[in-house]
């Protein structure tokens, strides 16, 4: 009996997650509601006037996205652990890193959906035009990075005593480089700065994304084996 090919496994796991989510809408629903609440709370907690709004909007956007992704990651991994489904996947003749790729792809799509919906929402609520194609691209790169590191770390933290509480603590410091590059790029785009001033940042983001992806693919098998 041969191993199931990598891409078939990845596809099977991702489409399983999407199908379950399309049906229940638990995860994306919770994440969306959270982001909506977060940007409102930021708005009145910081008592933003028009000028400061423009300055802080990208920071607010990214912090919200990171926390929303943590919310989703915890849920997505808990789903595999609660019923012992991770074991069921490990029993199958598949690559361990394909489990990572499948779960990561699912998390990436969920967070991206939330992030993309957040752009017009922020535009309306903050009255700052953030719904732009370039910003969506930066969002995609940033969320890719969060999902990569997050999937690996969430697979670890669900196996600890503190479970959900531990993920933000271990994840936030590690995504800091991503966050910095993403905020810098977004600031440049929102301020309508000439592209030479910020175009290095999406490239930095891409490089970090690739480094993290390779590291996580290599290390994930160590997370799930016993």
């Amino acid at each position: 009996m041969n191993k199931t090919p990598f891409w078939r496994t990845t596809w099977a796991i991702m489409s399983k997650d999407l199908r379950a989510e399309l049906r229940s809408r638990e995860l994306v629903g919770a994440m969306l509601l959270f982001t909506l609440l977060a940007i409102m709370i930021f708005s009145f907690a910081l008592e933003l006037d028009r000028l400061t709004r423009e300055e802080v909007v990208s920071g607010v956007l990214w912090v919200t996205v990171v926390f929303a992704s943590i919310l989703g990651l915890n849920r997505s991994m808990a789903m595999e652990r609660e019923q012992g489904n991770m074991d069921a996947m490990l029993l199958a003749p598949i690559d361990r890193s394909a489990i990572f790729a499948g779960k990561m792809a699912g998390n990436f799509i969920f967070t991206l959906v939330v992030g993309v919906l957040l752009l017009p929402l922020t535009t309306v609520l903050y009255n700052v035009p953030v719904a732009r194609p370039m910003l969506a691209l930066v969002l995609l790169l940033g969320i890719w990075g969060f999902s990569t590191v997050g999937t690996l770390l969430a697979a670890m933290t669900v196996q600890t005593r503190a479970r959900e509480t531990l993920l933000p603590i271990v994840m936030l410091p590690v995504v800091l480089p991503l966050l910095l590059a993403a905020v810098r790029a977004s600031n440049g785009i929102i301020a309508d700065a000439p592209s030479e001033q910020w175009q290095a940042w999406p490239q930095v983001l891409l490089v970090i994304d690739v480094i993290y992806l390779v590291m996580c693919l290599l290390m994930f098998p160590f997370v799930v084996e016993e």
Binding site: L152, L153, T157, Q159, A162, L166, P173, P177, E226
Partner: protein
Amino acid sequence: MSAVKEMPVQQTSERSEGDSMLRTRLLQGLTVITMLAVLFGAYVALFVVGTDATQGEVQRIFYFHVSAFAAAFIGFSVGVVGGALYLWKRHEKWDALALAGIEVGFTLSLINLITGMIWARPIWNTWWTWDPRLTSAAIMCLTYAAYLMLRNGIENRELRRRFASIYGILAMSTVIFTLIIIRIRPDTIHPVVIEPQIATQGAATDAEGSFTMSVTISQTLGINSFIWSVFLPLTLIWWRVRLQNAAEHVEQLKAKLLEQ
């Protein structure tokens, strides 16, 4: 560096009494040498080298501040090497090495932060400022605090070692980030002290509290950094690995006792 890597191999293997005695003597000798070396470095930094013209006496803290970061960097690197070797070889001695490296690195990075704050009080007129460099250094410390927390949260010893190794490797990204942030965020006010001869002259002189290093200042810095990043981590990590081995031994004895 190579001595740091090889040391615990001898540590954990079953050994004869005489061998163990020799090793203890060696470590004690090394400890004395390290203490003398650190004192020597401190003597040079405090009494020999001239006082900085613009900053005065407080500038002397820089010798310790920079050295502590260099030493912490070595400690964290040992954490990565130990973690990777553990994942590969699955021998617990490598995890003990990684843990020792990270704990030593963590302590030294706290020294780095505290000395930085003491320096900043008279120069920047504040203990703390949300400068990118400072923030990322603080977050670096927090990352390793998270590492220790992650370890604590896992009951299963094998799982703990495995996850800690993985996280120790990932956490290095915040160390590297702290190192390079000074280059990629031009708005930092943190002075660039160790700088390869790249055209950052402008950035360095613009930053508040930066200084041009005279030969003796850079020599003092070199001496201190060398002592701190070679002798200090080596000795501390060795002691820590010994402690870990002793704790492990106690666990084994306990388990044996339970068996009967």
